[in-house]
Amino acid sequence: MRVELRQIYKYFGAVRANDGISLSVEPGTIHGLLGENGAGKSTLMKVLSGYLAADRGEILLDGRSVRFSSPAQAIALGVGMLHQDPLDFPALTVLDNFLLGSPGTLFPNRARARRELERLAAQFDFHLDPQTPLSALSIGERQQLEILRLLWLGAQVLILDEPTTAISAQQKDKLFAALCRLAEQGRTVIFVSHKLQEVEELCSRVTVLARGKVAGEAEMPCPTERLVEMMFGQVVSQGRRPATPLGEVVLSLEGLTVSDWRVEVKGLSLEVRAGEVIGLAGLEGSGQRLVLQACAGLRRPDAGRVRLAGQDMTGWPYERFLTSGVVYMPAGRLEEGLIPGMTLTEHTALASRDRAFLVDWKAAAEEAARRIQKFNIKGRPETPVEELSGGNQQRTLLALLPHGLKVLLMEHPTRGLDLESTEYIWELLQKRTEEGTAILFTSADLDELLDRSDRLLVFCAGRVQLLEARRTSAQQLGECIGGKGFDG
């Protein structure tokens, strides 16, 4: 089935997720859709799969204009999508998941569905026990099931949104083999990723998105440099972080193993010295957040130790980390950083380590006003935080950080900030490092990672590489994030 998207527009408030994107994909091919976080890939694919309605634009299947009002309608017309976070039911069994949503009579024929599932699974060499609860399966197996289900429902176009973020190498190989088979059968596969290596390995043609627009298209094979350039634009280095004299070891990880339901970071050892800046690079969900949370005492390590200035803190609660001078600044601004419904003044008072009983609201408002000015926040002391723009919320979070920290852990510290305030934030952070604070931060911005860090920890599906920031080029980092250089 030939897929054509014409001039797709989709805005979320002021954010232009898709800003006039056109794309066409030939049947029997695997088409890569590349771009960094927030480039608009997922939005575009959600539009194509009927999950989101575009503000404007047209979708054509085999030349016929179609309009979906729901994902169910899209799959009925042959377009199925495998979402990045699996949209399935962990509490139900494999067979129930396979059956759920399929059309048919009141009492589904389970025996037949089971045979169908087994027949399809055998085709792709997948091994799924129909009676197992889904929660016992790995992400890779859940994907396999979802692919089989979509095929069973008659999907001619299969969209896979970042399918390899959380699966093992063997499962990846199996997945790729299956995708190649599907293309051979004449189906259309759209492979959304930002791992260059995989796209190079799998796709016959690639479209690169950046900031909601098509940044370029290329037939594969294509030199990696060109793809990197299309993805990240011209990398304009602001100049690397000046070498700062480093102090004692403030934070050390010894054989740290942390995991959640999708990814495991195994046996990470690292020593961070006072004043050092370490950038955590990698795709969203590759394990960076796990490591940051373990460093803050927010996640109990499965194995290994976390030491602060020599003292073993493994297993201590977050409060102890906090009083020992560790602060964690999360990415979810309104979810876990700020408190919607409270004003900037209230946040200022809340963040102050004042031991007094009564709040001096006048002083708090003045302090809030000072910080508003200092951090260039577009708001007033009495503004509730949910009314601030995303960038201003981020600046507020930074404005609330206490002084005299040993370790500062940040997720995407400058996401959504303009150049000027980014520069300003880093000036402030630089001062903090001069005072001896060590900083660990995650970022999706290669420039930021390269220019602000001493060392880089690159994560790929839980595996970790350590790079010297000053001896790494944007090219190398981009390839590394894309999975090059990891053994196995």
Binding site: Y51, L52, S70, P71, A72, H83, L87, D88, F89, P90, A91, L92, D96, L99, L100, G101, S102, G104, T105, L106, F107, P108
Partner: protein, 327 residues
């Protein structure tokens, strides 16, 4: 006491709690909490009795009670699904309001004798020794309650819409992707669950404790809500919980006559500390200190304990009480 008579009396007294528990299980499986059960049962019991009295027949009474139950559930659904108000707030206010309305509107019917569901032994089958006495020498609502357990179970676990219902409360977004109109389905199952709760009310005033009076069935709704949790949102386990509760009640009533020195008001409240303990038993395993405690035990003991606790543990539908964001 004769075991046959005991079991028969448990079965006979169970329909109110049973219908309420099954109804709420359906509602919560769809992801909505109808907290108003305690008042809804009273209100529908009163309405059912009043309508039965006026019409002289129990069937319109039962239908009216189901209608009242669905109506209250409809307000819960409107408030939480359309207006996105916190489910606890409206649920609690409705608990009090429906209770008070039942008392106010039911005032003229207090202790008035009225119709009740007739005892209808099933010919031949009831002659069957023991089993016949327990299962087939009962009232139509008892037969219906037994059928309801099976029906709800078959619907939930054997049919296509039942499968979607289970998905609905688990992952509404995924259910949407698979073709469900999430809000409409949730309305539907909330109304259906409410109607069953109403049927439970009717079973009170037309069968188990015929007639209407103040404070007759207060507290039962809360017990029913707790049984839903204990039942792990599974109709069979929930039904067993309901029978267990009614059996305890029956035992307590018998004990009471055996121990006249204990004040009569004490026994009816015994279920409540039991309710707290039961809830503690089924939820405590997710507490962090429990894991830490288990971690310190010797491996053999730990394994046994962990297994026991996990068997008892109940897990609510992942989407329970949450209203998904519109995209």
């Amino acid at each position: 006491m004769d075991l046959t008579i005991f079991l028969a009396s448990v079965l006979a007294a169970a329909p109110p709690v049973l219908f309420a528990v099954l109804g709420e299980t359906i509602t919560e499986r769809a992801g909505v909490i109808n907290l108003s059960l305690d008042g809804t049962i009273l209100f529908s019991a009163m309405a059912g009795f009043a309508v039965a009295l006026h019409t002289g027949s129990v069937i319109p009474g039962i239908l009216a009670a189901m209608g009242v139950g669905a109506l209250v559930a409809g307000i819960v659904a409107l408030a939480s699904l359309t207006l996105r108000l916190p489910q606890v707030a409206t649920g609690f206010v409705l608990t009090l309001l429906t209770r008070d309305l039942a008392y106010v509107l039911g005032n003229p019917y207090v202790r008035v004798p009225g119709p009740q569901v007739p005892h209808t032994p099933i010919p031949i089958l009831s002659e069957w020794p023991a089993v016949g006495k327990i299962f087939f020498d009962q009232d139509p609502l008892v037969y219906l309650s037994l059928a309801a357990i099976v029906l709800v179970w078959v619907f939930m676990f054997k049919t296509r819409p039942g499968l979607m219902l289970r998905g609905l409360g688990e992952q509404p977004t995924a259910a949407y992707v698979r073709g469900a109109d999430v809000v409409r389905m949730r309305y539907l199952y909330t109304l259906l669950g409410g109607a069953l709760v109403g049927l439970g009310g009717a079973a009170f005033s037309l069968l188990v404790a015929p007639g209407w009076a103040r404070q007759k069935f207060e507290g039962i709704g809360w017990i029913a809500l707790a049984i839903v949790i204990f039942g792990n949102w599974h109709p069979i386990r929930a039904a067993l919980g309901a029978y267990f509760f009614v059996a305890l009640q029956t035992v307590a009533t018998n004990l009471q006559s055996a121990m006249p020195e204990v004040p009569t008001q004490v026994f009816p409240t015994l279920p409540f500390p039991l309710m707290i303990l039961t809830l503690l038993l089924v939820t405590v395993s997710s507490a962090e200190w429990m894991n830490r405690l288990l971690g310190r035990l010797p491996p053999g003991l730990r394994r046994t304990l962990t297994r026991t606790i996990q068997m008892l543990q109940t897990v609510p539908p992942a989407g329970l009480g949450k209203v998904p964001k519109r995209e």
